[in-house]
Amino acid sequence: MCMRCAEVSRRSLLAGGGALAAAFATGIAQARIRPADMVPLVGPGFRPTETDEIGLWQLMDRAEEEISGSNLLIKDPRLTSYLQEIIGHVGGPAAKDMRIYLAHIPEFNAMMFPSGFAVVFTGLLLRMRNEAQLAGVIAHESGHFLRRHMIRSWRDQKRKSDIFAIGAMAAGVAGAGAGVYLGDYVQLAQLGTLLSLFAYSRAMEAEADAMGARLIAEAGYPPIEMANVWEQLIGEMDASAAYRRKHRRRGSLFDTHPSEGSRLADLKISAEEVTIPGRPYDTGKSRYLSKIESIRPMLLEDQVKLNDPGASQYLINTLAQDGWNGLLRYYEGEVWRLRNRAGDDVRAAQSYAVAVAYPDAPAEAWRWHGLSLIKEGRSGEGKAALGKYLKLKPGAPDAPFIRQMAS
């Protein structure tokens, strides 16, 4: 259901006999699904008519009530209306029915719920380089809804767990009775476990990719941007892993998703397939950047505080491919400073020094530039830089302390 779901919880696997389902899902190599074959299965104003789906929707309405009222949501109307506008472009026949929420979580993720509302994490907005990339992810999520993946996967699991239960009984496997209700007291409400039931199969993820490519191409975005998102994500994970001297985790993160390499290859072929030669496509880069400008410092701040220098550095360098600026240079310095290994202070100092040369350098860049200079023994220049910081941010919480140093 989401871009990168970790894994189905062990409990639901046991309870649902889903282990069997997972074994089925992973053992088979998938042929690429062609965008042309991806016909939306729901029309405008879709409402469920069958008992199982009605039940799911009712539960999802409760989930949406909770999520929409969560204090993790960013409710800035400029951002939320922007996201709503995008889903309105790439939502196919259900464009008018879908809702989208922005959660303040510094992770790359987005998810679609069975009743047609999506949640996008702020970490996604940090990583997207243009509107087309964001639209690509949203279109992928819309694809899950348009192809009715949630109810299809539920029915599939139900069928498999039924077969599993009867099969286990017939074979006389003692103790296999799945789903003995153990009274898990910690699970006082079931919203959490519910989500794990909607892990989509690889085939469904491939469908959503194909459907997404088609949707964004129709909306006038270059479909290759979807592949670019994936390429960036793979690069980021490699960088993060290399920093920790480990290999990128294979398998677990992508259990329910097609393997990253094949997914990227398929996305590229699909993109070519849906691109109409001669038609102009717009990545909407400047529009995207101006829309997220107000929260970009927050997004970067969240990221560097994750203590994942490999990934943070990769991200900053990727974003800088569209041009360095004071903000990116400042956070480049922050990555070094927070890593704090031998020589990192010098690297950080260099970044701050470059950052303050840009007109958009944040006030904090002047503070750290000043403090770095003082550390180097250039106290006159350092004090001048601190003075600039105080001028830009007279009410800063550390202003009295800095004032003392600058005087």
Partner: protein, 261 residues
């Protein structure tokens, strides 16, 4: 012969595993509200699922609606006997001067506190610092403020989940228990219920009483009150709230009451 003996022993243990369990905890000084008190029942969180053959809980919207209505009525009827004034919230925006967001926040706070109580009181992860202290949890200032603005003395939070075995599941249970007679027992869970209630004193913000109810049977066809019917809802509410004990009686010793059928 030995084999048959084993089978019978197993069959007996299966019978015994079908039961109703409730275990309550209360603040040491707690006495059940009586007389002229005002009780606010927060929107009851009710879910009724159909238990599929494979053991998955499939949510049923129609049953849930029906059960919610029954539980609310059962609550009203149960409380009518105690003499207090009761308001059962059906929506979050029903109280004057209190926004839906505030109610939602309090519900979420209670959800977190309730989880903590469940973890440390019921799941066996007892906290050494809370031993012998009854129930020591609070919703704090938010709850007190709600009480001040609305004039209610207590708030009751209630969660109820009912899983009804489908025909296929019941058949599977029959097979499992029948197997006992040929020496192979494979009992599987059937209809079951899980509910909890939590009483918060709105004058202090403290959770003064907490009860968890669990019913379940591995015998096919046996269920312990089905909240889709009014009678079943009455039964559940009675089991959950009917025997509210003062704090001195429950304390920290295990007062687990199990009824058998």
């Amino acid at each position: 012969m030995r084999k048959v003996g084993l089978a019978i022993a197993l069959a007996l243990s299966v019978t015994a595993s079908g039961c109703v369990q409730s275990r309550q905890y209360a603040d040491v000084q707690f006495t059940p509200p009586k007389g002229d008190y005002r009780l606010l029942v927060m929107r009851p969180d009710v879910a009724v699922n159909s238990l599929t053959t494979g053991g998955m809980s499939q949510p049923r919207a129609d049953w849930t609606e029906q059960a919610r209505g029954n539980v609310i009525e059962a609550l009203r009827a149960e409380q009518a006997g105690h003499g207090g004034k009761v308001l059962v919230l059906a929506r979050r925006n029903e109280l004057p001067n209190v926004s839906a967001e505030e109610i939602a926040d309090l519900e979420r706070l209670h959800y977190a506190v309730g989880n903590s109580i469940a973890l440390h009181k019921y799941s066996g992860y007892a906290l050494p610092t809370k031993r012998g202290k009854g129930l020591e949890y609070t919703l704090g200032e938010d709850a007190v403020s709600l009480g001040r603005r609305t004039g209610y003395d207590y708030a009751l939070f209630l969660y109820a989940e009912d899983n009804i075995a489908s025909t296929g599941r019941t058949a599977l249970q029959v097979l499992g228990v029948a197997g006992c007679f040929i020496g192979f027992c494979a009992p599987s869970g059937g209809s079951n219920q899980f509910a909890y209630a939590s009483l918060v004193d709105l004058r202090t913000g403290e959770v003064v009483w907490f009860n968890v109810l669990q019913t379940g049977s591995q015998l096919p066809g046996v269920s312990f009150g089905d909240i889709r019917s009014r009678q079943g809802a009455d039964q559940m509410v009675e089991r959950l709230l009917g025997r509210m004990k003062p704090g001195s009686e429950v304390g920290d010793e295990r007062t687990q009451s199990a009824e058998r059928r």
